[in-house]
Amino acid sequence: MATDDAVSARTEPSPVVAALRDAAMWGLITLLLTGPVVGLGTVASSGTYGFIQRWPLVFSMTAIAFAVRFILMMTVWRRRGAPAPRKVVADLPKSLDSLRKLFIPVFVLLAFAYPFISVFVAGGMTPGRYWIDLGVLVLTYILLGWGLNIVVGLAGLLDLGYVAFYAVGAYTFALLSMNYDLSFWVCLPIAGIIAAMFGVLLGFPVLRLRGDYLAIVTLAFGEIIRLVLINWREFTGGASGINRIPRPSFFGFEFVPSGPTSFAQFFGITHSPVHRLIFFYYVTLLLAFVVLIITIRLRRLPIGRAWEALREDEIACRSLGISVVNTKLTAFSLGAMFGGFAGTVFAARQGYISPQDFTFLTSALVLAIVVLGGLGSNLGVVFSAAVLVGGVEMLRNLGFLKQIFGNDFDPTTYRMLIFGVLMVVIMVWRPRGLISSRSPSVFLTERKTVSAAMVHEGRG
């Protein structure tokens, strides 16, 4: 630290001046960018276009950029003189493990209590509904993120058509439950298996492809599935999709106001449509835990390590006797299976699905979640799904911003802009994702005893 200070003192006149100068630059850039984009707007009025001007908004944004940058320069980045130099991860961060140990129980507890917290904080079942629904949405994306994480994060196979498996899962559930009256719990594993089969189907032709070429083929695969869903009308309902998909029941109890199988009546509570949503939240949460446990366990087996090794060096894998074919296919099929689970949950929650729900945008969002979370990190996926899905969704109700920026400021129109800025900021701030360090995993039987001894000697 002392040397850093000395360096910055020698090269810069004074930290305050440097920070001011830097913040002014940021303010200027903000001004230049927001000037034309935010400052001027067109309105169509009686056949002609008119301009409206929002200069106060532009200036407040500039001021915010300046102030935030200045404060950051004076506080967080102070000691390093300038924006933090990229850290080179030379060794395993030891603090991370203890942090993780603390985080995880808190997370689990929070996840379980979430519906009740929402109801309590929002002040009643009905207002809490929105928050629980949002929770289910975030969980669905966490499921998708964990699935894609195996393919992209661990095995390093760039898949831009991941939404295909999400769609396969959703349609499998919808069609099975509509046509054969199968229940959610029967459909769930079937949907997973069928999605996994589609994963193998995609995996075979792309076995020899890597990088850009793989990305393009998977992109095409996603589009093909979507086009088939649109055009195979008799089977999939075409562009209008499938409506009135049966909802899962709670061990045979349905979420209806009254009747012999009514959940509310049986438990002697007043009926609320939110019960179903809360039940759904727990179903998704349970599924998420199952998926997480499978992932963690697999990472400890040779196959999990082989995925990671494959990402690092395919030739080395081959020379160590790892079957590249099996490794790739298992990664694709397992990732696809998790996508299929997520699709089932999605279809059951919505009650209606259409090809519109499975566009490339979803693939891109899931990929963004994985990359922003830090490739290969399960915890990172949780964070970035919460930020990208939950956070962006919450921008819808930032009505209070109107008080700051004036009444014609509509935060929802800036959602995608803010989303984009958020992604850029995260990638600049943490180029390798929110959680960039991978924790070493264990897989050999004798390892436990060895490692403890070895680690100590290694460090000593």
Partner: protein
């Protein structure tokens, strides 16, 4: 003489339509160190990879422990106690040294892992000090040690080594070659070594082959080859080879 451990018989390998090996015959006996030297692009790495099943030979046969492995996949061959340490080290940079070594043992059933680990540490004590360091942050020499150590973790009978001295300081090369000699002497490990660094390789090896343009042009014991004028002219440019080679070892 008993049957060789590994024998390559009239192998021709192609990349597409381009021929890389034009009928190669090589034998490696159990307990031997055999080296293959040759200029860049001669086809040395191709021979190594062909033995290991990727690419496969279009003509000819590869016999290992009496079995024809010409059409076996690399992962099958790796399970037959043969290890390949490929050109350019190719350790896993994001994994720790320990995890890299674990990867080497992936074809084993995990029993005897401690012993194998100890063996690697005895050979390269440096690795023990760096156990929790990421592979990518090791020095070149340490990475090569790790690559060899990783290959040894599968408990091979024969170790195929492709240019272990590439880009390393002479002192490190010496250290690595000493380790190989030690392994061969104490455990009888069979080594098939590809090198451009002909002087050290020929001094280490019992026998050697010289490859030019996809064919073997010369063969003999290491000492014999070191004395051959054509070898010295082509692979031991200038002073170094001459004097020291004549002195023997």
């Amino acid at each position: 003489m008993s049957e060789p451990l590994l024998s390559v018989q009239g192998v021709k390998t192609y990349y597409g339509n381009i021929i890389a090996l034009r009928g190669v015959d090589v034998t490696v006996n159990s307990g031997e160190i055999v080296t293959l030297i040759g200029a860049n692009g001669a086809g040395k790495s191709t021979l190594m990879m062909t033995i290991f099943g990727s690419p496969q030979a279009r003509e000819g046969r590869v016999i290992y422990e009496g079995k024809d492995i010409t059409r076996r996949r690399p992962d099958e061959i790796a399970r037959m106690s043969m290890a390949l340490c490929p050109e350019g080290r190719r350790i896993f940079p994001r994994m720790t040294v320990f995890e890299n070594l674990q990867m080497g043992a992936i074809v084993t059933d995990g029993t005897g892992f401690d012993r194998d680990l100890e063996r690697v540490f005895t050979l390269f004590p440096r690795l023990k000090e760096r156990l929790q360091q990421r592979g990518g942050t090791l020095s070149g020499g340490e990475q090569q040690m790790l690559a060899i150590g990783r290959a040894l973790m599968s408990r091979p009978r024969v170790l195929l080594l492709d240019e272990p001295s590439l880009g390393l300081a002479p002192l490190i090369v010496k250290q690595i070659f000493n380790a190989l000699r030690e392994l061969n002497r104490s455990e009888g490990l069979t080594v098939f070594l590809v090198e451009q660094n002909a002087y050290h390789a020929l001094r280490l090896a019992h026998r050697g082959y010289v490859m030019v343009n996809g064919v073997i042009t010369l063969t003999g014991t290491g000492k014999e080859l070191l004395k051959r004028d054509e070898v010295r002219a082509a692979y031991l440019e200038g002073g170094k080879g001459g004097v020291e080679a004549a002195a023997g070892h």
